[in-house]
Homo-oligomer: 74 residues x 2
DNA sequence: CAAGAAACATAACATATGTTATATCAGGTG
DNA sequence: CACCTGATATAACATATGTTATGTTTCTTG
């Protein structure tokens, strides 16, 4: 075994679950590739600054629209 | 010699010249590192999708404020 | 049950980026 | 001239990302 699941991993999974998006859907929304989302969720990598901003902005937008009930993150 | 100067190289240089920003200044505005801007201008790399979006958005904003007179790009 | 499709996990390779260090160059100042 | 400083160029190394391919699981459908 390797690559522990970070907090961010859990956050991405939970956000994606609440928004009911596939990894590919979320990737498209953020402007990154499917592999990037998959790596985040499986603790292989942590997001770049720009990618993290994209993610945070999406969460903010979704929260403002009542589509996301977010306990963790940012 | 190596790494030809692409169109994008010239665009970045010109935008930076018009905005009177150092490579480090522009890097900070875009949320990337100095090295990234330097590589763009010297044709070593081409921007990622997210980075390119940041750049285009800055140009758009500056143009809307009359601070940028842009012949090339996007 | 068999076959297919969708979502996810994983790997390999190329490329972009961040970080750090060093070097060059132009301008100013003593 | 010698010295400094800011801006730029370049390199090396680690990490993040894109692309592509393959395997697995789950669900549906025949």
């Amino acid at each position: 075994m390797s690559s522990k699941s970070s907090e961010f991993s859990k956050i991405v999974k939970e956000v994606r679950r609440q928004l009911n998006l596939s990894q590919e859907d979320l990737a498209h929304q953020l402007g990154v590739s499917f592999a990037t989302i998959n790596r985040w969720e499986n603790g292989k990598t942590t997001p770049s600054k720009l990618a993290r901003n994209q993610f945070d902005n999406l969460c903010k937008k979704m929260r403002s629209q009542g589509r996301l009930n977010f306990s963790g993150g940012q």
